[in-house]
């Protein structure tokens, strides 16, 4: 993909998928996220950029309540998914995570076969009634993750035996197997080489048809290449949020401009 095309890229106006209002995150005594308001659109790739430690990953993990597993972490404010508060007492985070899937920084396939990696989610959520249906899901997810042709002959081989890029695509296949509505990606390409990165980026662009994708990235080029909307975080604040083209060509905030031009970060 050509970086220069970003300006002309169209952003279709979509409904809000996730809305965050006045979100604060505290890790013990440190204040990691300060008063963040974000609307994440449906069927759009949204990139979170910012220097290390600015809170973009922390905020991402708020969106599917992965922060619940950290005892010291406290989230306040309101985050809604399709208008429903995900921090409501009635919400079961496990059920939420089936709707809001996640891909992690380091490829982390289960130490099981490729097939079982993808089939695990549908199995535990009871999405299939027969082995044939499960086979179908596994195949379609691996196809969507552009991995099918490489692994179709060795579905019983361990997922940990794949190369880094293949592993990450396997993790993406695993994440989309539960048919989530939102896919969160926490620096999915930081452990990958440029070729694997290009494959994953292409994949993200294709996934946009079906999911709302939120991607955290260190690489501004990547954000420019794959996203339609970009949020810039700095020191726990959401500095600027808007269309990717506008953020990269005409940032409103001086801090965004200095980060993009490489002066801070």
């Amino acid at each position: 993909m050509n970086d220069m095309r970003i300006v002309e890229r169209l952003v279709e106006t979509q409904g809000n998928k996730i809305s965050a209002r006045a979100v604060q995150v505290h890790y013990g005594t440190s204040h990691a996220i300060k008063d963040v308001d974000v609307d994440i659109l449906d069927k759009t790739v949204t990139a979170f950029i910012g220097p290390s430690g600015c809170g973009k990953s922390t905020f991402l993990r708020c969106l599917n309540r992965m922060n619940d597993t950290i005892a010291a972490c406290k989230v306040t404010g309101k985050i809604t998914l399709d208008g429903e508060d995900i921090y409501d007492a009635r919400v079961d985070p496990v059920q939420l995570r089936a709707k809001v899937g996640m891909v992690f920084q380091k490829p982390n396939p289960f130490p099981k076969s490729i097939y079982d990696n993808v089939a695990y989610g549908p199995k535990i959520h009871g999405l299939t009634r027969s082995k044939a249906e499960l086979d179908e899901i596994v195949e379609s997810c691996l196809r969507k993750a552009a991995l099918w042709n490489e692994v179709k002959d060795r579905l019983t081989a361990p997922g940990t035996g794949l190369s880094g890029g293949q592993q990450q695509r396997l993790c993406i296949a695993r994440a989309i197997a539960t048919s989530p509505e939102v896919l969160l990606m926490d620096e999915p390409c930081s452990a990958l080489d440029p070729i694997a990165t290009a494959q994953v980026e292409e994949l993200i662009d294709e996934l946009r048809d079906q999911f709302s994708v939120v991607i955290v990235t260190h690489s501004m080029q990547q954000a420019a290449r794959v996203s339609q909307r970009t949020a810039f975080f700095h020191l726990g604040n959401l500095v600027e949020y808007g269309e990717t083209g506008q953020i990269f060509t005409n940032p409103r905030d001086p801090r965004t401009e200095s980060y993009i031009s490489g002066r801070i970060g």
Binding site: G101, G121, I124, A175
Partner: protein, 442 residues
Amino acid sequence: MTDTPKSGSIFTQTGLMAKRNASEKRFRFYGLVAVVASLMMLAFILFTIFSAGLSSFRQTTVTFSLELTEAKLDPKGGRDPAKLAKVTTVGYNKLIGTGFAAAIKEHGIEIEGLTDKDAAGFLSDEAAANLRDRVLADPTLIGQTVEINALVMGRIDGFMKGRVTAESAANDSNISAEQLALAKALDDKGLLHLSFNPAFITGTDASDTRPEAAGLGVAILGSAYMMLLVIVLALPVGVAASIYLEEFAPKNKLTDLIEVNISNLAAVPSIVFGILGLAIFINFAGLPQSSSLVGALVLSLMTLPTIIIATRASLKAVPPSIRDAALGVGASKMQTTFHHVLPLAIPGILTGAIIGLARALGETAPLLLIGMVAFVREYPGAPPAGFSDPASALPVQIYQWTQRSDPAFVERASGAIIVLLVFLLVMNTTAILLRRRFERRW
């Protein structure tokens, strides 16, 4: 560093480099010395045990034919089992003694100064008991002349194994020079056999004066019962406790306190667990003394901390990315633990369990306190009822035998240690094989 001039060729070693290399060499040497020293000690221990103990698996018997006279064994006739049982080992002892004396004459062995008492004392008391068991099991033998393989007394056995010599016998009131001469003569005629002795493994313990008849059967059975119970009791409880503490319990002062206490319990001397078992299981709960059930309960208590600590460590060692991955696809906490974390932790759990079991197998002190040191001549029954029968245990049996005065028990105790080591080896091998199986899966 700035004022250091550019150093010379890389072919010459600088002073500091030489020092660093020397210290590394020294360190390697220390390590090698430590390894060699420990291997030598191990070899020494094994050599001592095996050289003293291997002979206990062989036992001397004397073969001769003996007429089972009806007049002595079944004076009233009729082969009534109840009446047959009235003839005690004393009766058989006399019969076998005269029979042996006759056999000596028959083979033309003449030893000067050999009294009838000497001849009778040549055989073990156990020989009469064995013969009696044989006759009671098959009364049709009465009246026939049968070939018997009689155990000889411990000193003669020692003579055959080289432990007892003419010099040592001179100062020993339990054996006479004539008996030694008889042994030599019988051996020359091919009547004394030193052969494999299954009774050492299967037989029951015998009294102080009959080392030749002492066996490990009860102790092996008791130890096996206890290990079985310890696995059943301690492993599920320990693993469940660790999973709860590691994966589910909130991290607060209370769980911290529990954690500290578990670590401390692992260091508590085992005899303290014995006292605890005595107070709780025997005095309070009223469970039978000397039983493998109480032994296993005490050993389970002792093993639990080891298993919990090892299990928690191996659960901790499972990479958090696996937990994230499972939670990320919407697995519940329990599914994450049981589908992904636990399978990865199993090799470590098995290692911990086997270390705990090995310690439990070799433990003596707590068993002394709950009465397993008693002299047990009856086999415990079949499980589960047999778990509450009195039993012994291998380490306790070894402890008991080392206390006895007859030097033949040194050999017996060493033999028992070999059996204990074989037990350990079998357990460890099983654990390693299981580990392999679980590791190889991925």
